[in-house]
């Protein structure tokens, strides 16, 4: 069974601080997606990375896919209260069935 473990599970920080969320597995994934979910809503896609070692930036968010395509990280610079939410990683299961395994989730709270 493929599992994606996220750490930390919970994170409460002050506005302006930096943070990193990790998504780890022993399995190889064809792609890795990061989502943010707010209460009462479905997850919203932030980014998709498909190549080992790939780095993508989205304003203050930096995403990295591990070289072996087994892990990923999300780094937020100068966090803002609007970044509060549940962050989920999702791994694409090869060989191209387009099935996704979601991680355990990281709940982030940014205090003003």
């Amino acid at each position: 069974t493929q599992l994606l473990e996220q750490s930390p599970q919970f994170l409460s920080i002050q506005e302006g601080e930096n943070l990193t969320v990790y998504c780890n597995s022993s399995s190889v994934f064809s792609s890795l997606q990061w989502y943010r979910q707010e209460p009462g809503e479905g997850p919203v896609l932030l980014v998709t990375v498909v190549t080992g070692g790939e780095v993508k930036k989205l304003k203050r968010l930096t995403f990295q896919f591990g070289d072996a395509r087994k892990d990923s990280s999300l780094h937020i610079t100068a966090a803002q209260p609007g970044d509060t939410g549940l962050y989920l990683c999702a791994g694409g299961v090869p060989p191209g069935t387009y099935k996704y395994i979601f991680g355990t989730g990281t709940r982030l709270k940014v205090l003003a």
Partner: protein
């Protein structure tokens, strides 16, 4: 462009009762997913459709859960009979085409409480 629609938004039932959820994906999206999300956890895939055919239902508890996608558009997920552990948010998602970079769009979910 309209998003993924789901109904009802909330449902409270007693154990052993039946319940059905409805999903209308984004127009033209061939792939449809149903996920179960228990409070505080990541979504777990229950079933994946490609048009009106089932691609993966390996994690669907088939003794009590069933799903169909009529004419490759709308889909319904049914639970009969419900158990306490079925309390969760049921999310529907759709995507336009099969590619690693294509995006899943999620509906707002149906929150089910089983008493």
């Amino acid at each position: 462009e309209a998003g993924v629609a789901q109904s009802p938004r909330y449902k409270i039932i007693e154990k052993r009762q039946s319940v059905a959820f409805w999903c209308n994906p984004i127009s033209g999206h061939a792939t449809l997913y149903w996920y179960q999300q228990i409070l505080g956890q990541g979504p777990k895939l229950l079933i994946q459709f490609q048009n009106n055919g089932v691609v993966d239902d390996s994690q669907l508890p088939k003794d009590r859960f069933s799903a169909e996608r009529l004419k490759g558009v709308d889909s319904t997920l049914k639970i009969q009979p419900a158990k306490l552990e079925d309390s969760a948010v049921y999310l529907c998602a759709s995507r336009a085409f099969a590619a690693r970079s294509s995006e899943q769009f999620f509906g707002p979910g149906t929150r089910l409480t089983v008493l």
